[in-house]
Symmetry: C2
Subunit: 151 residues, 2 copies
């Protein structure tokens, strides 16, 4: 019988969160795109730029979500999920579902009309997971971006 806990992330969790982000970036075939550092996470977390939830399995950090308040001119305030990771070795315990449920509840509790995130078009397991959770998947938008610095 496994003991899974979902709780808000604290400063002490930031190195583990950064490691999970890196693990997922490897899976998504873009490890070189992770230019942030754990020290930067600490500064930005203290400045209120993001929050998160941590999943612990028997006392070990097994996964996390990282989110922030964002805004839609059409739908008003929304909670945006920038990253959502369950470490490979902790999968198939239902941890992802509990983390996602906590994220959805967080959005509702803050009075958001909408929660939003992005998913890679080839990531079928993730797409199936979101569809099972009654999410809409929108295919018609592309991302525009300008990167000022790769360091």
């Amino acid at each position: 019988m496994n003991n899974i806990t979902i709780r808000p992330a604290t400063e002490a969790d930031l190195p583990a969160m950064h490691a999970l982000v890196y693990e997922l970036a490897v899976y998504e075939k873009e490890p070189e795109a992770v230019v942030t550092t754990p020290a930067e996470y600490l500064e930005d977390f203290r400045n209120g730029l993001f929050e998160g939830h941590i999943a612990e399995l028997d006392g070990q950090v097994a996964g996390m979500t990282l989110f922030f308040m964002a805004y839609s001119t059409w739908r008003g305030k929304m909670l945006y999920l920038d990253d959502f990771v369950v470490s490979e070795k902790f999968r198939r315990h239902g941890i992802g579902q509990l983390l996602f449920d906590a994220f959805v509840a967080e959005g509702r509790n803050r009075g958001c009309r909408m929660i939003k995130w992005q998913v890679l078009d080839w990531n079928t397991p993730a797409l199936n997971f979101y569809k099972k959770n009654n999410a809409e998947i929108e295919e018609g938008w592309w991302n525009g971006r300008i990167i000022f610095s790769n360091k």
Copy 2:
């Protein structure tokens, strides 16, 4: 000779910004998706959920950008452009370029590594504009969302 000014948005601009958002939503074929009101913009602006720039042409509001500080786990803090509108009747004066330049400068000045936004895949004029401005267009991500309320 037209006199174009770009300046930060203030509370007094919010009704005009809402009208511009609605005008663009009609162009994007989704006017019913705009469920926000000018009164809600005021509350959310006062709560710091977004900021913006206003373009004036000969003293009239001609366009705007609306943005907020967001976070990328891979690249750290970034400025996110949620809406960018030049009113139909004020086009072809270079207002869009000045607004976009001001947004780019805002992102740089805040020490962001990246600025980001979304564009509809069929909006060729917008895509050409962004490419001309050395933006990358990413096609591989889909949006996931859950809408709690349509009111």
